[in-house]
Amino acid sequence: MSEEFTLRVWRGDKTGGEEVEYHVPAETGMVVLDALHHIQHNEAPDLAVRWNCKAAHCGSCGAEVNGQPKLLCKTRMDDYVGQTVSVKPMQTFPIIKDLVTDVSWNYQVAKEIPMLEPTAPAPFNMQQIDADRVQEFHRCIECFLCQDTCHVLRNHEGQRQYFGPRFMIKIAEFEMHPMDGADRVPLLAHEAGVNMCNVTKCCTEVCPQHIRITDNAIIPLKERVADRYYDPVKILLRRLSGKKNAPTGSSHKVSQ
């Protein structure tokens, strides 16, 4: 292993900033967050980086390493041997300072999602196979890397039209709960904007918890919206007659 790593860390605040180069002595198994801590403790005590657990449980330390959304505590420096490691804040959210961004929008969205409405009081009788389906979504650590990478939220100023992948799995968690009696389909179709997703699966790719966000949450939720709002027979007839455009952009899932 080389004796030291070279990092270029974005330093600045909402008024602007630039990448600053640092050199950090290499240690076996070091992660990017270790390197940043070394910088913070010895060179730049005011270097702003969020972190809590350093064990990939809390989801605080999301940032972009060489352009890829990553958890800093889980990204090994030796994945980048011979390269300069560039560390930048998540680009989808407004900057506060250095690697820290303002993710408060996510907490506003969270308030919009109705809680579980149990159809019977606890204790529930529920089989593991039913639990399995929703437990996958419960692994989410709210690192917001999926929100960061979602091109609807990132490029299209879509934060007014789409809640984003994190909140699709939150809705899915309740919707697919065997004891839930609430109806979130209107929310999905309108405010939550599930139709905005065009299934590029970028969110699934960056999820550090390996949640199959698109396949297991978003697509089934799109199907629920389609079942409710779009009569499949009419859509089929429209397809057969050669008309491509459904009333909204969601028809591509209906045929599945």
Partner: protein, 588 residues
């Protein structure tokens, strides 16, 4: 110094800390319509240390072992705490835990299930029965996320990333708290009629720790300075199994669930050494015993290559391990290049939990300062000299709720907002900004590193009088140097600045730990003294209580509350109550 301004926010109740107990307290406090409740946290919502709890939440449902009941949970908790626990807290706890867990289920938590469709429960160290309700190995995440969403829907205001630097007390009553927003460093005064502290423990005082950066004992130190009593400060839990290698991950928790699911501990000679220390319970002995056993094996030269023991779960098969311990599998694969479904891995003790804390009333969680309540790890009394795995999560729920209830009832009869002393706030703002103006000061991170070194070498898993004394001297010296901590940069999200206050808090609490450890001249639970290796009956009758007058820490003894006859009787059968009644059928 320039004139500083601050924002004033008024709430009936503020809760400092947004982990499991803080959020549970907030939900309870908000049940009264019209009551204004705020949660103030130094992190983002949902990131608190609760998220790192892995193995489960203990509640005596008896879903797998029908004879379990509150009496046996109570019995296990008292025995593992070596009887310096507050029995009434343990009683309330054991009785109320199941109800609190079911509440979580109705708010959306999805626990693993039994074949019959009930909540699954796993065995854990020193629990007589299979008792830990769990979701794989991320139970803490489930608890905090459930509470987080419940809170967001309970009409509570949440203030994230706020550093609290001072608890305000006027005429003996709590008046609020003062601090600053990390985002831009602007000052904020929270005026409140009651304050609930739910700020967790101080595991960051050790270098090798399973604790997140948050665990710096802020709430405890704030309350201590304001006149609250601390108890059992000498009791610090070392979890037997933290990661060992590579260096950067040293201390990260390896859940007790690994042993709960059948993991075996071996030394370098391949021997299951727990046979020597606790042949009956083996790997599932209590944490203090297992941690000490690993420590002793390493000392005897039978440690693993990097100074630990081998833990092996590979015999359970990849499918089982990945289903029940997915986080552990992933953690070792990513951070240590090691597949735990195929090979054993190294583990060693890591600082995990502080049993000591604010002395509270078991019924209401009230401290000795009127209007100030405390719940969770920052409070003291439930766990005694050693905490059982899984008891922490149910502690958060049971006493979080009671603290919220206590605060709510207190404000219904309490006077309006206490006046705030303007001069006190001016002085506080000056104090907080001072590190920016000191020249050639000491780096707060370096003070923290030195503090961790002192605590590790002088007040860790193995203690003795002379070593503790030496540690105390070093610590007091460091405390002196720390008066000159300085930082650079601006007030916008400046971690170096935040660290100054974390370090001040830890310095105060560490002194409390060492002083208390010097006083307890015996070995009990987590407190192991080589110069007093035996557990002595006369010490079972007392708790050490500390108070701080701004200059120094005073320490006194208080008698451990004596159990009433019906509870004391549970310890006279020679075995756990559930095992006694087993022949007589299932208890209610």
């Amino acid at each position: 110094m320039a004139h500083e301004s601050y924002e004033t926010l008024d709430y009936d109740i503020i809760i400092i800390g947004a982990g499991g107990s803080g959020l549970r307290a907030a939900v309870e406090a908000s049940q009264v319509p019209g009551l204004k409740v705020a949660v103030v946290t130094k992190s983002l919502l949902g990131k608190a240390h609760t998220v790192m709890a892995e193995g489960g939440v203990a509640a005596s449902f008896g879903n797998l072992d029908a004879p379990d009941g509150w009496q046996t949970h109570f019995y296990d908790t008292m025995r593992s705490g070596h009887f310096i626990n507050n029995y009434r807290m343990a009683e309330i706890f054991a009785k109320e835990a199941p109800e609190r867990v079911l509440e979580l289920e109705s708010w959306g938590a999805v626990f693993d299930r039994t074949k019959e469709g009930r909540i699954m429960q796993r065995p854990f160290g020193a629990h007589t029965f299979r008792r830990l309700c769990h979701i794989g190995d991320h139970t803490g995440l489930e608890l905090i996320r459930t509470m987080q969403y419940k809170s967001l829907h309970s009409g509570i205001d949440v203030f994230q990333e706020v550093t609290m630097t001072k608890l305000l007390v006027q005429d003996g009553h709590v008046a609020g708290a003062f601090g600053y927003f990390r985002e831009d460093g602007r000052f904020v005064l929270f005026r409140a009629r009651a304050v609930v502290l739910a700020t967790g423990g101080w595991g960051k005082i050790f270098k090798v720790t399973s604790n997140s950066w948050e665990s710096t004992g802020d709430g405890a130190a704030l309350a201590f300075r304001a006149g609250a009593d601390m108890m059992d400060m000498e009791m610090v839990q070392f979890h037997p199994t933290g990661m060992v290698w590579p260096p950067g991950v040293r201390g990260i928790l390896v859940t007790e669930g690994v042993r709960g699911e059948g993991g075996l501990l071996r030394n370098s000679e391949g021997e299951r050494f727990m046979q020597t220390y606790d042949p009956e319970r083996m790997e599932l002995s209590s944490r203090d015993v297992v941690a000490r056993s690993i420590f002793k094996e390493v000392q005897a030269g039978r440690g693993s290559p990097h100074g630990g023991a081998w833990l092996d779960i590979s015999h359970k098969g990849p499918e089982y391990v990945k289903a029940k311990l997915p986080g552990m599998y992933e953690q070792f694969l990513t951070l240590a290049d090691l597949d735990i479904t195929k090979e054993p891995f190294e583990v060693a003790p890591t600082c995990h939990y502080t049993m000591g804390g604010l002395r509270v009333d078991p019924e209401t969680c009230a401290t000795n300062i009127p209007g100030l309540f405390a719940a969770g790890e920052v409070a003291c009394g439930l766990h005694g000299a050693n905490r059982l795995g899984g008891n922490s999560l149910s502690d958060l729920l049971v006493f979080g709720r009671r603290a919220g209830l206590g605060a709510r009832e207190y404000v219904s009869g309490a006077p309006d907002f206490a006046p705030v002393d303007q001069a006190e706030l001016e002085a506080e703002m000056d104090r907080v900004l001072e590190p920016f103006h000191r020249e050639n000061g000491i780096n707060p991170y370096h003070v923290h590193e030195k503090l961790q070194e002192i605590m590790t070498n002088h007040a860790g898993i193995m203690r003795s009088g002379p070593v503790l004394e030496e540690g105390l001297n070093k610590l007091l010296e460091l405390k002196d140097q720390a008066r000159n901590m300085s930082i650079n940069g601006s007030r916008i999200y400046n971690p170096g600045w935040h660290a100054v206050f974390d370090v001040e808090n830890m310095l105060l609490l560490c002194e409390g730990i060492i002083r208390s450890a010097l006083e307890r001249k015996e070995s009990r639970g987590a407190h192991w003294r080589t110069d007093y290796p035996d557990e002595l009956p006369e010490w079972q009758k007392i708790n050490f209580v500390e108070s701080y007058d701004g200059e120094g820490i005073r320490i006194r003894t208080e008698p451990v509350n004596e159990m009433p006859e019906d509870l004391a009787k549970l310890f006279t059968y020679g075995k756990a109550p559930g095992l006694v009644q087993q022949s007589g059928g299932k208890e209610s």
